[in-house]
Amino acid sequence: MTFLLAAEDLAVTPNEVVEATSGLVGLAWLIPVVPLVGFLLVLALTKTLRESAAFIAVGAAAISFLLSVGVATQILGDPATYIRPIGTFIQAGEFSVAWDLYIDQLTTVMLLVVTGVGLLVHVYSLGYMHGDARYERFFAYLNLFLFSMLVLVLGSDLVTLFVGWELVGLSSYLLIGFWFEKAEYASAAKKAFITNRVGDVSFMVAMFLAFSVFGSLAFTDVLPAAGELSSGVALALVLLLLGGAAAKSAQIPLFVWLPDAMAGPTPVSALIHAATMVTAGVYLTVRMSPVLVQSVPGMEVIAWIGIGTVLLGALIALRQDDIKKILAYSTVSQLGYMFVGVGVGAFREGIFHLVTHAFFKGLLFLAAGSVMHAMANRSDAWGMGGLRKAMPITFWTSAIGWLAISGVFPFAGFFSKDQILTEAYNHGYFAIWLLGLLGAVLTAFYMSRWFFLIFLGERRFADDVHPHESPASMTAPLIVLAALSLFGGLLNFEHSGWLYTFLAPAVADIGPIGYEAAGGIPLFGLIGAAVVAGLLGIGLAYLTYVRGDLSRGRMLEPIRGVPAEVLERKFYVDDLYSLVFTRIGGRFAGAMVWVDTRIVDGLVNGAGAASLAFGRVTRRAQTGLVRGYVASFLLGALVLVGFVLYSVR
């Protein structure tokens, strides 16, 4: 095999922008509309069809997937940026937004991931959600999510992207709070929505600024003109976009909502909070890559936020015991790698990792769901063990997911993570490369811990739990995702591989930035380091959790005492926010209420008491000037109001 590194200034012909109403691209509007119709139909027909209504949702997802495949074939055969005109959305003064669709190579990749994983999760849910009191409602919401996410990736304008961006937030809110009877689940749903809204302010201001510079927010206007940005405006735009992306993609400092979002049913965690929605921030930044490359300092901030999140997520994951929480922090961490990719100018490698992560993390979450299904909804990894025998399919598919995320050759995650790190090194970011390797060791360690504690060793759960393999509707998606996690690396087997070349016309050219490698380590050395990092993490976890004495329970954990406390409290970020926003913010809002009742309203009521004295003074104000009368009118009327209010109280 050859791991060739392409010369990055290789000239790439940019896409031609083509308006298309015919062919499969012409039908692309159906891709989001079909799940929307599915959503409405399921809601309307729940009472009539009962559980069968779920098949409407599954069918809608399947149609969207097939249409996406069709669009992909057209893009493959005839690469271009297709604009599918739909019509005006908002037209107010100079500000104009259309509902048009924007379909290029990047869109295509996102379409396939969203509808592909989406379809698998729909199928999986048929089994997983069976017996739930709001079974049909769940499928309606899944279709609503699919619609929203597809609007997000198909929008031809930052505003329509934002429409999808917010609607996925709504779907996420509905699905995290699906079991709203539990107060903490409802809180988690609200927390997700509010945290994302904080990021939205940043995103919105980015759009306001972009509009004042470009006079439009359509990609076809903004992206080609990005080169005209001054460095200051470019930096501001990049940081503001990052603010929005950091909320949606759970980066520092707005990651706090994602682990709580695990309150939602597990298929939701797989689809929304691992494979698709949380990657929207990555999609946004890559879509805006022509703007990003105008500000290398801005990109460096993205890279550092990313690597910080890689380590923060990985460290917290070390001391989580809930099998879904481990995966949640892992997702935070893996999204960090994608941001590193974007930040160091490896846009396409970032998208590659987005794709492979959708495969293996979707797989791992669905496997976790399968395990919890078998374990009567228990999720404590320490209360499992030895499940490999009871659930062989879940075991083998999980093993593939585990090796993929740990970066073991030749599983999918190895290629994408390695390529991001290699690019970081080749673009001169030595520290980020080194920290990324550290992150890889940690990743392999906590994921091995996850895998070993669940499947290997002896059973550590009570006798009344009888684990069993899940039904075919659940194991089939596991097998498909396992195959993708196994072979997904082929998409971009070598640096500058197929996906890299395919995406080239859709992302910014980083040639003009003039990156230089951080040192003289040859490519094989870099790859070797990544391989060693993964194996090191697995080896350490093996010694601890397989060879170690598991009867010692949590005493076995290598991190104990104060550091463990810090990790279990998630670096106190949640506590800090709750202090600042709930306690101090609450006091401030309380003070505002006091001001409103005592001062603003109090003045009106209190005026009554002084009205008589007021009256004597105002009598002298007959100056004959209109403005004098106006003033006395005001005064007199105020007095009157106050007096009457005082007396009727």
């Binding site: 959305f89 609607l167 709504l170 509010i194 505002m592 409103d596 009106v604 109001v641």
Partner: protein, 500 residues
Amino acid sequence: MSIGPITLTLALPLLGALVLAFVADDPRVVRIVGLAASVAAFVASLVLLVDFDVANSSMQLHETMSWIPAIGASFSLAVDGVSLVLILLTTFLVPLILVASYGSVTVSLKGYVAAFLALETAVLGVFAATDLLLFAVFFEFTLVPMYFIIGIWGGANRRYAAVKFFLYTTLGGLLMLVGILYLYSQTGTFDYEAIRALELGTTEQHWLFAAFLLAFAIKVPIFPVHTWLPDAHTEAPTGGSVFLAAVLLKMGTFGLLRYALPLFPDATRAWAPWLLGIAVIGILYGSLVALMQSDIKRLIAYSSVAHMGFVVLGTFALNTTATTASVVQMINHGLSTGALFLLIGFLYERRHTRQIAAFGGLAKRVPVMAGFWLLVSMSSLALPGLNGFVGEFPILLGTFQTAPWAGVLAAFGAVLAALYLLWAYQRMFHGPLVGADNEHTTDLKPREIGVLVPIVVLIVAIGLYPKPLFDLVEPSVERVLTEVGVDAPAVEPAAAQTDQ
């Protein structure tokens, strides 16, 4: 002299009120008469919409009758895009409000319906008048039926709320009347176009602007003259709250756009930065105070202070995008806040409490109501795809172009709106279903769903395709902004747009 669809739209509700005076006090008859009159007015306003020329930015469809010729006051009505959409909002909502009230108003329904119909005529007059004296009369007259609606059919503390409402708004109205009389003294006519063409000195403009501003600011209400609103809302019966929020508040923002801006352009430009600041304070302050309310009706009342802050922000951004969107936002606020007050009313009829703490876990018991509540809350917090977004977003974007600081600060209102609305929703509808009262709450009845559905349809329709609404409004807004933008308004006595 001409009588056309505008006069008809105005006259029909009043006619209904008069008919009520002569029919028996039978609830069935009263209901039919009320509904017939308000639906007829709605149909008449649709005729208006059909006759309206969208491309024309000036006042059109003039209808004039002699009124008090001795002082040059005439009964003249006309519409532009802004007044037309507000008229449509009013005539659309009144039948729904009446139907919603039919279940809850038991004490003298006849008086209630008559008061509402009279109120409708007065408000329509405010939106359609092109004679300043006529405008002032309608503006003041709206107080009378509303005073009775709060004072007779209101809650426990209705007397205080009604008096406070009456005095507060009268105060503003009287000042404006002084301003109108001064304008009359300068022109010898109350005709809107003639006065609009009048060139005023800067000092005069500042004083007159202040007088008009106070009248309208109290109506909107703009911080810090908003404190009558929570009391009035909380004590008013459901229909009163809906009408107050959806329509009466719009008289303030309508007045600013129709009178304060074009009549006093120099003053408008000078005051605009201050008003942007006050609007931003209103948005953030109203949201924070809303957050802390324990009474759901008071919470929504304060949310109105915040939402109307967005309208004021857009108005004084003096930018076509923002100002046009602020008119659209008037409609949006009318729909979403109106629907929220309807829902609160429906819930109150079942539970006789508005304390958020009394509710919990209701989504399990009343899923249909919960669904409507969430959808309308999402509209109110400006979720894209629903109507609130297409108003709020262009307001912020447009404001950012003229005053970036105001656009950025106001954007934080989006976070706070999500916070107070979703927190309230969570406390009332999520969590475990506890207590017999929550356990026995019944879901919406077909009549109630029937009232909500037309509003929700508009919420979604405007959210997805707001273009027709923007198209109706924009030319009229452009005309106002052109006048404000001109340094010295051209002197054209007896303006080209005479009505006679």
